[in-house]
Amino acid sequence: MTAALAPHDATAAPVAETILAVNNIEVVYDHVILVLKGVSLTVPKGGIVALLGANGAGKTTTLKAISNLLHAERGEVTKGTVEFDGQRVDRLTPNDLVRRGCIQVMEGRHCFGHLTIEENLLTGAFTRRDGNAAIRRDMEMIYDYFPRLRQRKGSIAGYTSGGEQQMCAIGRAMMSRPKMILLDEPSMGLAPQVVEEIFEIVRTLNQKEGVSFLLAEQNTNIALRYATYGYILETGRVVMDGAADALRENEDVKEFYLGVAGADRKSFREVKSYKRRKRWLA
């Protein structure tokens, strides 16, 4: 699919003030498994950037590389640099990074099973120093965003439903009042309405609070609707990037990621099997 595409070059990224710059990073797991083969991307201040790609493309890995959660999985960045707010951060601990205002919402809902929903949210405010009042206020805000959480606030997170946990994870991240959130598959396991809501929330935060977002998302459709810019990852390389609407118009993207929306979209029943290409086996 990389055919007929402008080769990726970093200058294509908006030269506006960047909050996050990833320069040509290479990631290795267990000292042997090379997963990212030189990924570069930039996120402008106050931008929403989408990171698209098939399973195993390396989206999660990229996000973890940025938030320094890799070494917890015996992975390491062997090449390249990561800059946040103009400073190199690829040697910092995740906790420093959060203090500086960059937090990640991990793929697949990692709530603290033994803590209640409310306690989960409170841990999100761990790095904050601006007093309980402020924290309370934000918690209310989050409850307003996710009414479902308010209902279940007292119950042990481990027992809440998949979606509830997902909301909890996102809310928890917001509690740290970050400058930038790395969202990994926010829509996963959420009811369509809630998905819309979450992206609305993303937009609101982005516009009201000026929070920047880098979101790894499978639901390309909606991702590109809300994002300003997008990168497409395949087996550890950026194969295409461009402004969101540009990508939305791109034929390949249409074919492989968006599908034809609206009434005349092809039913899942008539999936042609020839279209299957086992990219993840590459």
């Binding site: 290795v28 267990d30 000292h31 042997v32 498994i33 090379l34």
Partner: protein, 358 residues
């Protein structure tokens, strides 16, 4: 040497399901067996055989036993020493009842006795999980140990209160007691260990092993797939204790030659647990590596100063040795939490893609 499976195609599932699918590995194993069965007995001196190889083998077997329980089924146990004890005492009783029957028979039989005991103490495992299960095994450890002290019947009322290993022969060769040469004891031990290892590896690679690992990785899912938790866990306990029991019997009959109850104290359980973890949970080869490392390392460290002609008092050496062993344990864990076995695999991995880094 090039370590590649390139050009080795599997034409049948049987071939693909072989335990060592890669030719180089098979050769490796052959070489190891050759060394173990021929080179070592021929060239190894007495001390090496009786104070290094024999203990290492005994502990390897125990480690395999514990590994089946902890590594494959995910049930932590601190009762290893006690189950070894059961094996030892059972074997002693049996052979003193029926001196005529070949000792090897009783060594294996004693394994079954301890399997039974093991299964019994495994019963709580259905309800109790994780570190909490440790208490069940600890109860086993201390209760059984108490029995060893308290029931003189177990040692035929010897005034010494200890097992006194009688002399037994195999094909006319003395294999237990003071007159047994280290070589003889070593070879017998080695054969038993080799055979049991083979059985173990068959088990863990087959249906049973998969059931165990399923329970380890996600017991609920396993249950919903129709794997019966209790039976699977009990089987694990039984098999594990069987191995420990045999190891215990071998330990007393082919190594110590006499054993007080103090031999089977909790520290020994810990020792075996080290070996399993350092070697690699859920890896048979790891069990050997772990046993070798944990048992030989101190010996080497103790000999080192003398060998280098350093005038260090034996006590000081002992202290230093503790420190170093402790430090090394940590270093190894950091280097590869999944144990020596994994370290070994990663090494092979690198060898495969050599000369490229990834």
């Amino acid at each position: 040497m090039f370590y590649r499976e390139a050009g080795q195609y599997k034409t049948s599932y049987a071939a693909d399901m072989a335990i060592f699918p890669i030719r180089q590995d098979r050769i490796g194993i052959a070489v190891i067996l050759l060394i173990a069965f021929v080179i070592i007995p021929v060239f190894g001196n007495q001390f090496f055989l009786s104070s290094v190889m024999i203990p290492t083998l005994v502990f390897s077997l125990a480690a395999i036993g514990l590994n089946i329980l902890t590594g494959y089924t995910g049930l932590i146990s601190l009762g290893t020493a006690a189950f070894m004890g059961v094996g030892a005492y059972a074997c002693y009783k049996l052979t003193s009842w029926f001196p005529g029957v070949n000792i090897l028979v009783w060594i294996i039989a004693s394994g079954f006795v301890s399997a039974g005991v093991g299964a019994l103490f495994g019963l709580p495992s259905l309800r109790i999980k994780g570190f909490y299960l440790v208490v069940a095994t600890l109860a086993a450890q201390f209760f059984l140990q108490w029995c060893f002290v308290r029931i003189p019947w177990l040692v035929n009322y010897n005034t010494s209160g200890a097992i006194e290993v009688p002399e037994r022969t195999l094909f006319g060769v003395v294999i237990t007691g003071a007159n047994a040469t280290p070589t003889a004891r070593y070879l017998v031990l080695l054969s038993v260990v080799a055979a049991l290892t083979w059985f173990a590896s068959n088990l863990v690679h087959g249906r049973v092993g998969r059931a165990w690992m399923a329970v380890r990785d996600m017991d609920i899912a396993a249950e919903l797939m129709g794997i019966r938790l209790l039976t699977t866990k009990l089987l694990a306990f039984a098999v594990s204790s069987f191995y420990c029991g045999v190891a215990g019997a071998l330990m007393v009959f082919l190594w110590y030659g006499s054993a007080e109850p103090e031999v089977f104290v909790i520290n020994q359980s810990f020792l075996v647990l080290f070996m399993v973890i350092i070697g690699g949970l859920g890896s048979l080869i790891g069990s050997f590596m772990g046993a070798a490392l944990i048992y030989m390392l101190p010996i080497v460290l103790r000999m080192l100063p003398a060998a280098l002609g350093l005038p260090i008092a034996s006590a000081t050496v002992e202290h230093l040795q503790f420190i170093i062993v402790g430090a090394l344990i940590i270093v190894f864990l950091i280097a590869e939490p999944h144990g020596l076995a994994r370290l070994w695999q990663t090494g092979k991995q690198k060898l495969r893609i050599w000369p490229f880094p990834y």
